[in-house]
């Protein structure tokens, strides 16, 4: 199939960006979306033009490095699918595809389709962990964890930190990301000791990074490649509220 691509090009953070149009010809339906872009880039390189910069690494939907807003939807809008797992059989000959980077104040563009998502790392550094050092931990079976709790914790822990939830949100809110990490750890007995300070500190860092507020429209859940449930935001709100009422920890 032959496609027309409208792709966001931006030299660096300070530069003014713009859409450029490219033709992608003889695209096969078995190609992944990123392989289609690889082929376009090969063509650009052969012509001595600068290839389109985009992030990817594992290309099997687990590392969270890939991004791309495709036709206005982060990761292209196929249920439970990250951009790297999206295949060209979902497009047809003659289509025009618009490709943009994540757009959020807290994720500045570095170049073309690459953004800086280190704000997410700083949120984790503020409390997304259990404060145990290496060594001296009790036997793995010392504290039973009910299967339903472990499964629910795992549902939240499946987050790959790609940032699609922020990119789709009209307020660029990071609530689903924060909620997933707070829920993953706060649900488990191992995470209970720091339950309150975790919720408070991570939310505080989220606000400091410039992410917007949550109005629970649910668009984040709809585009999440790991289908993280909106109900974790309810849990975060509860944990945060309880922590606030208890008073700030030291």
């Amino acid at each position: 199939m032959n496609l027309t691509l409208k792709i966001w090009r931006q030299k660096n953070r300070e530069a003014i960006g713009r859409f450029e149009t490219y033709e992608a010809n003889s695209v096969l339906e078995d190609m992944s979306f990123l392989e289609m872009l690889d082929v376009v880039n090969e063509g650009l390189l052969e012509r001595g033009a600068e290839p389109i910069a985009f992030d990817s690494d594992c290309r099997e939907g687990i590392c969270g490095m890939c991004s791309l807003v495709i036709n206005g939807v982060p990761h292209g809008g196929h249920r439970g699918t990250a951009t790297c797992q999206l295949h060209m059989r979902h497009f047809k000959d003659g289509d025009t595809i618009t490709i943009e980077p994540w757009r959020a104040k807290a994720f500045p563009v570095i170049r073309d389709l690459i953004t800086n998502r280190t704000a997410f790392d700083r949120i984790i550094q503020a409390g997304g962990f259990v404060s145990v050092n290496t060594g001296g931990t009790p036997d793995g079976n010392a504290i039973p964890v009910p299967k339903t709790i472990a499964d629910r914790s795992m549902d939240a822990a499946a987050c790959i930190s790609c940032g699609a939830c922020v990119a789709v949100c009209k307020n660029a809110s990071a609530m689903l990301f924060v909620a997933a990490k707070v829920s993953h750890l706060n649900l488990l007995p191992q995470g209970k000791a720091e339950k309150d300070r975790r919720a408070l500190n991570m939310v505080r860092q989220m606000d400091a990074e410039g992410f917007g507020n949550c109005t629970v429209t649910g668009s984040c859940e709809a585009v999440c490649p790991k289908e993280i449930s909106l109900s974790f935001i309810a849990k975060l709100n509860r944990d945060y509220g309880v922590a606030l009422l208890k008073g700030a920890p030291d």
Binding site: K11, N12, L28, D30, M31, S32, L34, E35, M36, D38, E42, L45, E46, G48, A49, E50, P51, D55, D57, C58, R59, E60, G61, I62, C63, G64, M65, T81, Q85, H87, I110, R111, I114, N116, T118, D121, I124, Q125, G128, F129, V130, V132, T134, G135, T137, P138, G140, N141, P144, P146, A150, D151, M154, A157, A158, I160, S161, H184, Q190, G191
Partner: protein, 638 residues
């Protein structure tokens, strides 16, 4: 130079305890005086960086991804082994040790493997305490499964995302230290040179992948946890960014490289669909528990729809050749059997490079809901990539490069032949011998980072008393100049070919001549072609843009340049090892029924290669493997 493995004396079960008592300690107040540079943030790197910082050392950690949480450990699916014997089925430290030695085809060090089995127990405890959401039974205790043909259930798992969850545990421990200010993290930063001063590793030169700035970092020790070299084959299940650059540059500075020919080919991957293919995707080995592998008996049937081929016209070749293990035969054996039938022209799918993995009998026996519950996510993944529904038609699978057992040579303390340079995880050669068992990679990465290096690095500081250096030393300036010249050289060729096309050509050559089966003629042919291809690379490469910006074509070209050199060592090692063992199968050395034929008399050693300069042959050093504890036997899965 002689290789000193520094294996402690005494019975194997007591070596590590004895060693931990004998090694010297650093006073807690003095630890902050030592700077440690950790390159890589996967299971080994992140766990090491976090644990060292907790002890009080000053740590800098570097990764080329945008976040330390993206390292390729994250993609491991199946699980992590530990000798907990929670299943009460006869497992023990000794059994895990024995299985790993045997699985490695008697080409690993006994003492290292025993220690690995010992600390496997601590790893699970550590991960649980960090909040890793392992699978649980209804009673609330940890669930176990058997994996990769093991006869005991010792594998712990978190759905099909065990690597992700273990990495997040280590990443979170690392993040905590970053937040506390004890680790300085450098994401999107690639190590391009190791700095050696007075014979010891003292620092690294890195490139900031956003600005292109080249800078130096000095430390009292350098830790490489930079993963394996599977991408030398171009197509592998590794992430796109995985590369050999860090360990290769260290090799050229004097760190011996061991057993590069031990590469693991995983039998159940989704086949290549065309020239555009950028990487391969693994399907969990667990599928072989309920799927039957077959190809048509006759070549002429290969293009027919699988359902139209009758039962008597199908060749269930694994069941036929290995009646007792059948479809569960180990990775290397299953992969080679698939290659054989495809070489005979009986492969299916595009290019005849695929075999069927058929679930129809299991679906008949157990019903579709049971199969969906067991493998639903894998069937979905298969459909996403191929557009085919595996409940209705058999999957097509083919082997792919998956893991590399070879790596930088290290002693029992995980230190390379360069004092002060420690190498962990897949990047070193240490524990898997010639073949790695399923669910053992995660175990080794975390063992090295959490429980081994934090002890042994202190002993280096206390006994070697390394001198402090700063980046003002001329060696740093020289190394930076070298890196800049290298980058400029890549940019100045302005030829016609892209790094991808050259890399793909190299990969194809290696896959054909040094892949699942190797022989002398093929390897010699590869050794003739690789220098030609390297010359082609340096004459015809085309990289656009400049160094002082984010330039992915330049980053990638640098990695391919190193693969172009490394490939030669890989083939040289494969040529010299005139035996078949584990992941290294030499067609000349096989039993009459086509099984690997080891030569313990001549090759029971670790081959460690020393760099002697450009266009000089590498020099072989042998570390003889002494088997005191286990008796070397022939693997049989018939």
């Amino acid at each position: 130079m002689t290789l000193e493995s520094k294996i402690p004396s005494g019975p194997v079960a007591q070596k590590w305890d004895k060693h931990r008592f004998e090694i010297k300690l650093i006073n807690p107040a003095n630890k902050r005086k030592y700077d440690i540079l950790v390159v890589g943030s996967g299971l080994a790197g992140a766990s090491a960086a976090a644990s060292l910082a907790e002890l009080g050392y000053k740590v800098k950690c570097f990764c080329f991804q945008d976040s330390p949480r993206r390292a390729h450990s994250i993609a491991a699916q199946g699980g992590i082994n530990a000798a907990k014997n929670y299943a009460n089925d006869g497992d023990s430290v000794y059994r895990l040790f024995y299985d790993t030695i045997k699985g490695g085809d008697f080409r690993a060090r006994e003492a290292n493997v025993y220690r690995l089995a010992q600390v496997s127990i601590n790893i699970i405890d550590q991960c649980v305490a960090q909040g890793v959401p392992f699978a649980r039974e209804y009673g609330g205790l940890l669930a176990n499964r058997s994996f990769g043909g093991a006869q005991v259930s010792r594998t712990f798992y978190a759905r099909g995302q065990t690597g992700q969850q273990l990495l997040l545990g280590a990443y979170q421990a690392l993040s905590r230290q970053i937040g506390l200010g004890t680790v300085k993290m450098y994401p999107r930063t690639e190590m391009l040179e190791l700095v050696v001063i007075d014979g010891a590793a003292k620092g690294i030169v890195v490139r900031d992948l956003i600005t292109g700035a080249i800078s130096s970092h000095a430390g009292d020790a350098v830790v490489l946890a930079t993963g394996g070299y599977g991408n030398v084959f171009f197509l592998s299940t590794n992430a796109k960014g995985c590369n050999v650059t860090a360990t290769w540059r260290a090799y050229k500075k004097g760190a011996f490289f061991a057993n590069p020919c031990y590469t693991q080919i995983h039998p159940t991957c989704i086949p290549v669909s065309g020239e555009h293919q950028s990487k391969l995707t693994l399907m969990s080995e667990s599928l072989r528990n309920d799927g039957r592998v077959w190809v048509p008996k006759r070549k002429e049937d290969c293009a027919k729809a699988p359902a139209s081929i009758s039962e008597q016209d199908r060749d269930y070749y694994l069941e036929r050749k290995y009646p007792s293990f059948g479809n569960l035969a180990p990775r290397d054996i299953s992969s080679r059997a698939a290659k054989e039938v495809c070489d005979a022209g009986r492969g299916v799918g595009p290019g005849g490079l695929g075999v069927y993995l058929d679930f129809s009998d299991s679906i008949k026996r157990l019903g579709e809901p049971v199969i969906r519950e067991r493998y639903g996510n894998l069937f979905d993944m298969y459909e996403r990539i191929t557009g085919e529904n595996a409940y209705e038609a058999p999957m097509r699978i083919f082997p792919a490069v998956h893991y590399t057992m070879g790596g930088t040579w290290v002693d029992y303390n995980l230190m390379s032949t360069l004092p002060g340079l420690f190498v962990l995880g897949e990047a070193n050669f240490s524990d898997h011998g010639a073949n790695r068992l399923g669910a053992s990679a995660l175990m080794q990465g975390l063992a090295d980072g959490y429980f081994i290096l934090p002890y042994t690095i202190g002993d280096y500081f206390a006994s070697a008393k390394p001198t402090k250096v700063t980046t003002d030393r001329p060696e740093f300036k020289q190394a930076e100049d070298g890196v800049r010249a290298f980058m400029n050289r890549l940019l100045s060729i302005k030829g016609k070919r892209t790094a991808t096309s050259l890399h793909r050509e190299l990969g194809k050559l290696l896959w054909e001549k040094c892949g699942m089966a190797r022989d002398e003629a093929g390897l010699k042919e590869a050794l003739r072609r690789i220098p030609e291809l390297r010359e082609e690379f340096w004459k015809t490469l085309n990289v656009t843009g400049e160094n002082g910006e984010l330039n992915q074509a330049l980053e990638y070209a640098g990695r391919v340049a190193d693969f172009m050199e490394f490939a030669e060592l890989l083939c040289q090692d494969a040529l010299h090892r005139r035996e078949s063992c584990g992941g290294h199968f030499r067609s000349e050395f096989q039993t009459p029924d086509g099984e690997a034929l080891r030569n313990d008399e001549q090759f029971s050693y670790v081959a460690a290669w020393e760099y002697k300069g450009p266009n000089q042959p590498a020099v072989l050093h042998k570390e003889l493997l002494a088997y005191e504890e286990v008796h070397m036997s022939t693997r049989s899965y018939k």
